[in-house]
C-alpha cells in the first residue's frame, strides 16, 4: 500500500470512528446510542487516532492533511446526523438546528484537531526516540 493510499484510508477510517464517538457522546444522541459515553471518550479517541496517523505516516505534511481530513470527516458525519434528524421529523426550526449543528461541530473539530495533533506529535517523537533519531 502506498503512503498516499494509506494516508487517505487511515484518515477516512479515523474520521468515521471519531464521528461515532462524537455522536455517542453528544447530549442529543447519547440516550439512543447502543453504547452511550461521556465527551471525554471523543478526546481520548482523537488522541489515539492522531497517534495512529503519526505512527503509520512518515511525512509531516501527510500527517497534517490526515489530521485535517480526519477532523473534517468526523464533523461532517456528526452534523449530517443532527440535520437529518431535524429533516426526518419536519422540525420547523430547521435553521436553528443547522446553526446548532454547526456550532457543536466547530467545537468538536477544534478539539479533534488539537488532540489529534498532540497524539501525532507524541507518536512521532516516540518513534524518533526509539529509532535513535533523537
Amino acid at each position: 500500500m502506498s503512503e498516499r493510499t494509506r494516508a487517505v484510508a487511515n484518515s477516512v477510517f479515523c474520521g468515521i470512528i471519531l464521528a461515532n464517538l462524537a455522536v455517542c457522546s453528544s447530549p442529543s444522541f447519547e440516550r439512543f446510542a447502543p453504547l452511550a459515553m461521556t465527551a471525554n471518550w471523543l478526546y481520548v479517541g482523537a488522541f489515539i487516532c492522531g497517534s495512529i496517523l503519526g505512527i503509520t505516516l512518515d511525512d509531516a505534511k501527510a500527517i497534517f492533511y490526515g489530521l485535517c481530513s480526519m477532523a473534517l470527516i468526523a464533523v461532517l458525519i456528526f452534523s449530517g446526523a443532527l440535520i437529518s434528524i431535524a429533516r426526518l421529523n419536519d422540525i420547523p426550526s430547521y435553521d436553528l438546528v443547522s446553526l446548532l449543528a454547526f456550532q457543536q461541530s466547530f467545537v468538536r473539530f477544534i478539539f479533534i484537531f488539537i488532540l489529534g495533533g498532540v497524539g501525532a506529535a507524541c507518536a512521532t517523537l516516540l518513534q524518533l526516540f526509539f529509532s535513535g533519531g533523537l
Partner: protein, 163 residues
C-alpha cells in the same frame, strides 16, 4: 523496515474494522433518535372532559385524551393532574394507573378523579357562587419509549370555563 510495514498494515486493518463498526453504530443511533424524536413530537395530550361530582365529598372527574401519532409504542409511566379554580389550587390526582401503554397510531382516554380537600373547599364554594368561573388543569406526564429507554416529560395546560 518490514516490521514497520507489518505494523502499519495491522493498524490500518484494525482501523478499518473499527470504522465499519462505528458506521453501523452511527446509522443505528441516528435511526433510533429520529424515531424517538418523531414519537415524542407526535404524542398529543388534550383535555376532553371535566365533570363535577357532588355525591358525598365533592370531586372532579378530569378526562384526558392521548393520541399517539407515531408508529412507535409509547408508555405513560406517571401522569399527575393539578386542578385550579379561578386561579386557586384545589387538588391533585397522582397517577391512578401502574403504566399505560399506547400502541402506534392509537388513542386512548384516561380518567382522573381529583378530590377537593376540605382545606381548599372554601375556594371552590366561593368560585361556584359566581355565574362565570374558570377551571385550569395542569398535567405532567412521564413518557417512556420502551425500545430506547428514553424518558420525556410532557406538559399540558388547559382552560375550561363554567360547570
Amino acid at each position: 523496515m518490514a516490521d514497520k510495514m507489518n505494523l502499519n498494515n495491522l493498524l490500518t486493518a484494525a482501523l478499518a474494522a473499527l470504522a465499519l463498526l462505528s458506521a453501523g453504530s452511527i446509522v443505528l443511533t441516528t435511526e433510533n433518535c429520529a424515531q424517538g424524536v418523531g414519537a415524542v413530537l407526535s404524542v398529543q395530550l388534550e383535555l376532553s372532559n371535566l365533570e363535577l361530582r357532588e355525591e358525598g365529598d365533592p370531586e372532579v372527574l378530569v378526562t384526558f385524551r392521548l393520541k399517539n401519532g407515531s408508529a412507535v409504542n409509547v408508555e405513560l409511566e406517571t401522569f399527575d393532574v393539578y386542578l385550579h379554580i379561578d386561579g386557586h389550587y384545589i387538588g391533585t390526582s397522582y397517577t391512578p394507573f401502574a403504566k399505560r401503554s399506547v400502541d402506534g397510531f392509537e388513542e386512548t382516554t384516561m380518567d382522573f378523579v381529583v378530590p377537593i380537600s376540605p382545606a381548599r373547599a372554601p375556594f371552590f364554594e366561593e368560585a361556584r357562587q359566581k355565574e362565570d368561573f374558570s377551571w385550569f388543569v395542569r398535567g405532567k406526564a412521564k413518557l417512556l419509549l420502551p425500545s430506547f429507554k428514553q424518558e420525556t416529560w410532557l406538559y399540558v395546560r388547559e382552560q375550561w370555563t363554567g360547570e
